[in-house]
């Protein structure tokens, strides 16, 4: 059974269409993350699932039930908002109980559910406090509690962590992941942060300008981006992309960037003279030549040390390139780097016109 199914979902505000026909299947108990730059229609899509926005066209099924015209309260979904949407005049316990009270759940049941949820989220000591007296992380947890307590069929999250500082965000991210493992409920999670998407998702949906660019597991998107947009959006630092032309040599096709040419894996369906974009992930370069790898000469601008890793900012034929390498605790040799090596199977080739990957 699918948890949430979107078919040809379109959203227009008046005469401005912002979501252009989205198809997406979220399996039951799956954790799907919608990721994309700001303004690409993630929130709008999520809000259509919640019923906060009308669906202009297409169909929405939740647990195989057509929900286009079903009121939000009857969709059995719970939503966590970016700004938490806690009621400032209610204490933590009453905030968590709000949805149950609205549904006229018996008092004893409410008390039990609230204390269970508070236990799960470590909020037991704070039940009497008002939201104003809580830290950002605690407020976030209360917002989660309010969603969990209702035992909905689907959880919807709209950038729930973006108001937290970096450290807390990492911590809450892990907590959400654990919570999902424990509760095992279909979840749709919106974020603009690809790291959040990579770490949380069973599957990631990369959106851009109101369409879906690619759907896949985090590793799938990382290793096999469908186009240049996904390649530059997933992974940090992003994949290096350099315009090139395909040339032919006795040992197979090569991509000629300007003067530097990169040998390509011989399974690629390219033709001589084709304009392409060469994509190489910063972490796929190696500084040592292990077993006859093709060499790429570069000129180094800057070394950024991150501790266990370092980023080399360099240029290859006037194209800027970032190389990521392990330091092993020693950066003394990095400033002398003038050549890097890359295995041909790690080089991605995209069509220069459409941006689509060539396989």
């Amino acid at each position: 059974m699918t948890g949430v199914r979107l078919e040809g979902i379109v959203k227009a505000y008046g005469r401005i269409q912002v979501v252009h026909g989205i198809d997406l299947n979220v399996e039951e108990k799956e954790f799907v993350v919608l990721v994309g730059p700001s303004g690409c229609g993630k929130s709008t899509t999520l809000r259509m699932i919640a019923g906060l926005e009308e669906i202009t066209d297409g169909t929405l099924h939740i647990h195989e039930r057509l929900c286009n015209r079903v009121a939000p309260k009857d969709r059995d979904v719970a939503m966590v908002f970016q700004n938490y949407a806690l009621y400032p005049h209610l204490n933590v316990a009453d905030n968590i109980a709000f949805g149950l009270r609205i549904r006229k759940t018996p008092k004893a049941e409410i008390a039990k559910s609230v204390s269970d949820v508070a236990e799960i989220l470590g909020l037991t000591e704070y039940l009497d406090r008002r939201p104003a007296d809580l830290s950002g992380g605690q407020r976030q947890r209360v917002a989660m509690g309010r969603a969990i307590v209702r035992h909905p069929k689907v959880f919807l999250f709209d950038e729930p962590l973006s108001n937290l500082d970096a450290k807390l965000r990492t911590q809450m991210r892990a907590e959400i992941k654990r919570l999902h493992k424990r509760l095992d409920v279909t979840s749709v999670y919106v974020t603009h942060d690809q790291v959040e998407a990579m770490t949380l998702a069973d599957r990631i949906v990369v959106m851009n300008k109101g369409i879906i660019e690619q759907i896949g597991t985090p590793m799938d998107l990382f290793m096999n981006p469908a186009n240049t947009f996904v390649a530059s959006f997933i992974g940090s630092p992003p994949m290096n992309q350099m315009p090139a032309t395909i040339t032919r040599s006795p040992d197979g096709y090569r991509a000629l960037i300007d003067q530097v040419s990169v040998p390509l894996h011989n399974s690629l369906s390219v033709s001589e003279g084709q304009d392409v974009i060469v994509g190489i992930r910063p972490e796929h370069f190696s500084l040592k030549n292990d077993g006859g790898l093709p060499a790429i000469p570069l000129s180094l601008d800057l070394v950024e040390t991150l501790g266990s890793e370092a980023l080399l900012h360099a240029t290859v034929d006037n194209q800027s390139v970032i190389v990521k390498t392990d330091t092993n605790g020693d950066i003394s040799q990095l400033s002398n780097v003038d050549t890097v090596y890359v295995p041909p199977e790690k080089v991605k080739i995209f069509d220069a016109g459409t941006g689509k990957v060539i396989s």
Binding site: G51, L52, P72, M79, F81, A85, Y87, H89, R103, R150
Partner: protein, 335 residues
């Protein structure tokens, strides 16, 4: 050596408090230090004082200077001798006032009219604001709001004219409508029992719309995602009004209530003067109209000052009491 450094470390890192604060012993400042700090402060922040100045000057000219004249409440004042030269007579004016049935009646009338005003006039703009908030059609909402704001901008004299005309026994719309149902015509404005309802009703008609602006602004400030969250949780519009809108604007309501209580003795004096007549004095005469007739029309300025001072003292006590009750029970207060 080791022991000593351990002790120092403990002092410096404030082991006592979890958030790392330490008790700070402020160094004693000499007068010269304080003065030079004040001068620096003024030099850096003089713009703030310039901005403050008009309010301070206004208070002095219109509030503090007239207070000088208040002393005539305790004097046998004569215009010819002036304020300073008139002899002190203690509380004699207050004794006279409280011996005067008309004054006592005016005090009670003030309280009754104010109580009715508070009971019906205070909730009216709040209810209106909540109703406007439920109007979904933006154009209709603006139109309706403009209509209800209008009476506020009409001069009280014209308002009184409209009321007098509407309730007139011969051509008034009220009596005309009553006539359709076969009722006899009533000369409302000569009936003491009708004065208060007409007065309070007129006040609501005139001010409820304009008063709703404050509450509409407060409603507009409520975080919209509170409502969205409630919608997903299954709340009806009625539940959202009771559980979100009203609690969210409660601080505003309380502040407005405190201000209102402070003005409780200040019933709209012009409107009463314009609407009342000797036939309705028994319910319509309030402290301010009494002061006006006794003080200004009969020239007893000292007596009028005493009545006015009494009014102000009652208002002061009420507003302080309301504020401290509110601070204690709702964490909201004017000061």
């Amino acid at each position: 050596m080791t022991a000593k450094s351990v002790g120092n470390a403990a002092n410096n890192t404030a082991s006592g408090t979890p958030d790392g604060t330490v008790e700070y012993a402020a160094p004693a400042l000499t007068l010269g230090d304080k003065l030079s700090r004040a001068v620096d402060h003024f030099r850096n922040e003089w713009q703030l004082y310039v901005m403050l100045a008009p309010a301070v000057i206004w208070c002095i000219v219109f509030l503090y200077k007239p207070m000088y004249g208040l002393q005539i409440a305790f004097k046998d004042y004569s215009i010819f001798r002036g304020v300073a030269a008139s002899p002190w007579i203690g509380l004699e004016h207050f004794e006279t006032l409280f011996g005067n049935d008309q004054f006592i009646r005016a005090v009670f009338n003030t309280i009754k009219i104010s109580a009715l005003n508070l009971l019906f006039g205070f909730p009216a703009p709040i209810i209106l604001a909540l109703m406007f908030n439920e109007v979904l059609h933006a154009g209709y909402k603006r139109f309706a709001q403009t209509i209800v704001y209008l009476p506020h901008f009409i001069s009280t004299v014209i308002i009184a004219g409209i009321v007098i005309t509407a309730f007139s026994p011969t051509a008034g719309i009220v009596n005309t409508i009553l006539g359709w149902f076969g009722a006899d015509s009533i000369y409302f404005l000569t009936k003491p029992e009708w004065f208060r309802p007409i007065f309070v009703g007129t006040g609501i008609w005139q001010e409820a719309g304009f008063g709703s602006i404050v509450f509409l602004a407060a409603i507009a400030g409520v975080n919209p995602s509170l409502y969205e969250s409630a919608v997903v949780d299954g709340a009806s519009r009625w539940q959202m009004m009771w559980k979100i809108t009203i609690p969210s604007i409660l601080p505003t309501i309380i502040i407005m209530l405190i201000i209102r209580i402070g003005n409780i003795m200040e019933v709209s004096f012009e409107l009463i003067i314009l609407l009342y007549q000797p036939a309705t004095y028994s319910t319509a005469d309030v402290v301010n109209t009494f002061v006006y007739r006794q003080g200004l029309q009969s020239g007893q300025y000292d007596m009028a000052a005493a009545a006015g001072l009494f009014n102000a003292a009652v208002a002061f006590v009420l507003v302080v009491a309301a504020n401290s009750l509110s601070r204690r029970y709702s964490r909201t207060s004017l000061w």
